[in-house]
Amino acid sequence: MSVPVGHYQYDQVDRDFLEARIAEFSEQVARRIDGSLSEDEFKPLRLMNGLYLQLHAYMLRIAIPYGTIDSKQMRMFAHIARRYDRDYGHFTTRQNIQFNWIKLEETPDILRDLASVDMHAIQTSGNCIRNVTSDEFAGAAADELVDPRIHAEILRQWSTLHPEFTFLPRKFKIAISGSPHDRVAARFHDIGILARPGDDGRTVFRIFVGGGLGRTPIIGQEIFDAVPEERLLATLEAIVRVYNAHGRRDNIYKARIKILVQALGIDAYREAVEAELAQMDLEHYRLTPEMVDAIQARFAVPELSAPDNAAQELASKRRENPEFDLWVRSNTHPHREAGHIIAVVSLKPAGGIPGDATSAQMDRLADLADEYSFGELRITHLQNIVLGHVRQDRLYALWSSLKEVDLASANIGLIGDIVACPGLDYCALANARSIPIAQKLGARFGDASLQAEIGALRINISGCINACGHHHAGHIGLLGVDKRGEEFFQITLGGRAENGASIGTILGPALPEDDTVDAIARLVDRYLGIRQKGETFLDTLDRLGDAPFKEAAYETV
């Protein structure tokens, strides 16, 4: 069996571990059914196996460690969609996939199918360290310093069934990036890690702690600037240990690490972590170069080679075909290797449901990954799919194939690239449906030329204050609220997740769904009218403040 490009290769030991986990879960389901486990006791156990109870059915969330899968694994998702769900799956903002129409009794079978391709649903929910996310352009981007997936895999392993940290006060999310351009929203995570090369040839880590969205959006603060590789696990143990011991457990809305960091202050939190480190046997927790290298050896590296004229080929196709040119502009990213390019496949067709893919699309994406990108696919935190290593002279052929299956929307990073939570269509917590308004906005701005004209603009939609659609971090954020039984949306402007992370501010009173769509259309028109040459929406907003946008949005209301 060949070693997969881009993710860790399991061996028999890893497979036996998954097998044991499935056997355990099957027994837990049986104990729930015979009553020896109460619902209250079963709930955290099933959540730690990815199984949620939603509004209408069980949902199974499957882990995609650091967002990378191979074509065989993607085909398995297609199989699960066909066999156990309604022929589609939903890719999430944490690079996972979830299936929304699952039967409890079929769950062990699904987990067995997943294990046959070295996949699982471990720790995709529950008050534990969740699946670790990473940069969707890892190992490919021209601007990258370190491929963060090796350390992401180390963190995945370290956090798997961690004996001390499986019953934390609340969920715990870690993201890691190896690029100066933060593509993982590091400062909106419980722990955000930026990796860079150190002087000794090993990696060093800048660590942020206490960030998060949700009800109380807070930007993470730097706890350490340069943690050496061999201290990485010890440092994380110490950070999480302080949280486990002192995080609040009396109120789930105050239980995240961000609340503790705010309460203590970052300096006191750092001191507490240093006090732990001073007592720990650091040798015991040492992450040795040998351990790192052994994990790295389980990742295959793509053998890249492109003809000398690859770039010219691409350039000439772009001149010949303006539609293709538009797609290349928005949906690609520079590759580290000459003659190659990173392609992003949008799962945001105009009027479609953001992040959904049918089994036929998944199968096709798997085929295209085999044909064009070493069988490797990445899921982005904006719910799109990346083919990381495409030869430039073959990009046109790839795009033509994507068009055939309606996967060639040219809108990555543009207004049509909407992030929306599942909302009231699925979720028991929601106040409003996020999907229909996303579909209306997607349709309103569907035209690719219009989207290119508008430029970089992110819309994020959450159906309630739990903020799963990350509305606080959207350039335009929409929050669903309930007004006397009717669904209204509150608009925020100016949020951003990337470098210079900030939280959006509320524009004015909430509006009903259709009025919200109209208000955003007017607001975007106003931006196009008042922007200076070369300005993005955020640039104009930063220059003028939100007054002109407020005026436009509430013009006729």
């Binding site: 069934l161 961690h162 004996p163 499986t166 994990i295």
Partner: protein, 146 residues
């Protein structure tokens, strides 16, 4: 009271068990019950004479116990018995053992066979714990002494 032993150490029944505030006045007592909110470091002056520290789960979801046990074993080098009691699930057996707990007071109606099965469920672990271990292949995986 039924005791379940997680490892080699034989669990011993102690007649008198006191709380942390009571420990200072009872110089002959060898067993203490820590509250979930107690800092194990407060036991420092008494460690030499203590034979048993009991940690109590108010509810199985309260994971502070795991950190308390680890601090006792790793920071304070406590070499006596650590026991867990209260609302605890068999699904937590291996976690407890790996954090340094030796025995569990089985809740009413527990099935010791299930506890045994859960204790030995996983052939390897992906991180070090307080138990002696050896690497399994290369990387982070370890096999622990059971």
């Amino acid at each position: 009271m039924r005791l379940f032993e997680l490892g080699e150490r034989t669990a011993k029944v102690h007649e008198s068990l006191v709380t942390l505030p009571e420990l200072a006045e009872n110089t002959d007592v060898r067993a203490v019950l820590l509250d979930i909110a107690d800092d194990p470091a407060a036991l420092k002056p008494y460690l030499n004479r203590l034979e048993l520290v009991v940690l109590r789960f108010p509810i199985f979801r309260d994971g502070r116990i795991f950190t308390q046990a680890r601090e006792l074993r790793e920071y304070l080098r406590f070499s006596g018995e650590i026991r867990a009691e209260g609302h605890v699930l068999p699904d937590q057996a291996a976690f407890l053992k790996r954090c340094g707990v030796d025995s569990v007071v089985l809740p009413e109606g527990s099935d010791p066979e299930l506890w045994e099965r859960q204790l030995h469920r996983f052939p390897v672990a992906y991180q070090r714990s307080v138990l002696p271990s050896r690497p399994v292949g290369a990387g982070l995986r370890v096999e622990e002494e059971t």
